[in-house]
């Protein structure tokens, strides 16, 4: 089954945006485990930036599209 284009385009950005939002709000709620929520929530965008920014993700192997 092929994922819809909308889903494949936005799934990761939306997940990361929600994690970051939860991290920002979570940290305000308290200490301890709430701090971890912040560190993970904001850590994911940082790790994704460095990892993909430096290495880049490989191109998906697929049939070449015909000229548009």
């Amino acid at each position: 089954m092929k994922a819809s284009p909308l889903w494949s385009l936005w799934a990761w950005p939306v997940v990361i945006a929600i994690l970051a939002g939860a991290g920002l709000v979570g940290g305000l709620a308290g200490d301890g485990r709430w701090d971890w929520m912040t560190w993970v929530g904001l850590g994911v965008p940082c790790v994704a930036s460095v990892w993909f920014g430096l290495r880049g993700r490989r191109r998906r192997a697929r049939a070449r599209r015909p000229r548009a």
Binding site: L9, I18, A20, G27, W39, G43, A48, S49, G56, R64
Partner: protein, 377 residues
């Protein structure tokens, strides 16, 4: 998205970014050291540290604290006595030529246990003071603040339009794909899109709360005037107060009114936050969420009795709650580092955006669409 719509969003993204980029770069660069201002202050020796003592050590009275500060600046008038959140071992006594002075203020840090003066911290002085002044107002007072607030608004427009444009630009790519085998421009286009989209929540929140903070002066002044008007209605007798009553008694009564809160600051009679006849005792909560929210308790300076404790209005609550979300100071050192990394990523997003705009011009530099077509063919 139709080509026309994409063009419109591109135009919005281009111009909102171009106009604000230089100023946002200044904000990002000055914001970076400000993330660590406590650590830098301790390292530079400008942060006052009280000698360690047992938590249950007896505490000096406020009269002693004020007397210790008066001994340093005998000609000055005490305006405020305050504590930092999370450190009740030090009282900061702020003094001025008069109770209404706004310049030439002096501060004395007094040990809350021994009542001995520890240091005279400079108010907004030094390198960090300059960095802060640039970040907050570009050395241009309220006008500088409001101008930076407008730049913040443009930043929000740039973020939203950039997010909309993510779709047409990334349609044929996987998440995180960077076409490194292609031209430098394509590579940086992919990085710009990647870094922009993964930091979008953080950038929106820091941008929006920063913009709200630029209105702080106006909001606080409005509240202060509102409060002062209410206070004056309680005042009686002559306009000036010859002999205020016991400060410690006033403080004790204020604490009894809000037993679950900690002290933020006490404004002396005659200051902008007090009234001719009242101490303004400002309490704060104990949790991360509430420690920035202040609850005023107004205490009659002569009798030491509480006159009223009005709830702060919604606009003050909004302002005070937006501050931690801008400062990133509520999750310990790891959060400070994440804040710094996200700040640097934002610099890269802006720098790469500027590069993409610059490299589009010029006769011998191919634009993206032509390249993209060639690659697909």
């Amino acid at each position: 998205m139709s080509p026309g719509t994409t063009r419109a969003w591109s135009w919005l993204h281009k111009w909102s970014s171009l106009v604000s980029t230089v100023f946002l770069l200044v904000l990002c660069l000055t914001g970076l050291p400000l993330v660590f201002h406590h650590q830098i202050g301790a390292w530079l020796g400008t942060e006052v540290v009280a000698p360690p003592m047992p938590a249950d050590a007896p505490r000096a009275t406020l009269e002693q604290v004020v007397a210790a500060a008066n001994a340093r600046f005998s000609s000055k008038t005490v305006m405020y006595v305050s504590q930092e959140p999370g450190d009740d071992a030090i009282w900061y006594v702020t003094m001025g030529e008069t109770a209404r002075s706004t310049t030439g203020l002096k501060q004395v840090a007094v040990d809350a246990r021994t009542g001995r003066a520890l240091a005279e911290p400079k108010i907004d002085g030094g390198v960090m003071g300059a960095v802060h002044a640039i970040h907050v107002e570009l050395f241009a007072g309220l006008a500088g603040k409001l101008f930076l607030g407008f730049m913040g608004l443009l930043m929000l427009v740039a973020i939203v339009s950039g997010t909309v444009l993510y779709a047409p630009f990334m349609r044929k790519l996987r998440f995180g794909e960077v076409r490194r085998e292609r031209s430098t421009r394509v590579k940086w286009l992919d990085r710009h899109n990647l870094l922009g989209i993964v930091t979008v929540t953080w950038a929106l929140v820091v941008g929006a709360t920063g913009m709200i903070n630029t209105w702080a002066d106006l909001v606080i002044e409005h509240w202060r005037n509102d409060q002062a008007a209410q206070l004056r209605s309680h005042d009686r007798g002559p306009a000036s107060l010859a002999q205020p009553g016991s400060l410690d008694r006033a403080f004790a009564n204020a604490r009894a009114r809000e037993p679950r809160m900690k002290i933020a600051f006490i404004a002396f009679p005659g200051t902008a936050w007090g009234s001719a006849h009242h101490y303004g005792v400002f309490m704060r909560g104990r949790t991360r969420l509430t420690e920035r929210l202040v609850q005023p308790v107004l205490v009659d300076a002569v009798t030491g009795e509480v006159s009223s404790s009005p709830e702060p209005p919604w606009y003050m609550t909004t302002l005070l709650l937006s501050q931690p979300l801008h400062f990133g100071d509520y999750g310990g050192l790891p959060m400070q580092w994440l804040w710094a990394i996200l700040d640097v990523i934002t610099i890269v997003v802006m720098g790469s955006g500027l590069y993409l705009w610059l490299s589009k011009k010029g006769p011998d530099r191919p634009a993206v669409p032509a390249e993209a077509k060639a690659a697909v063919a």
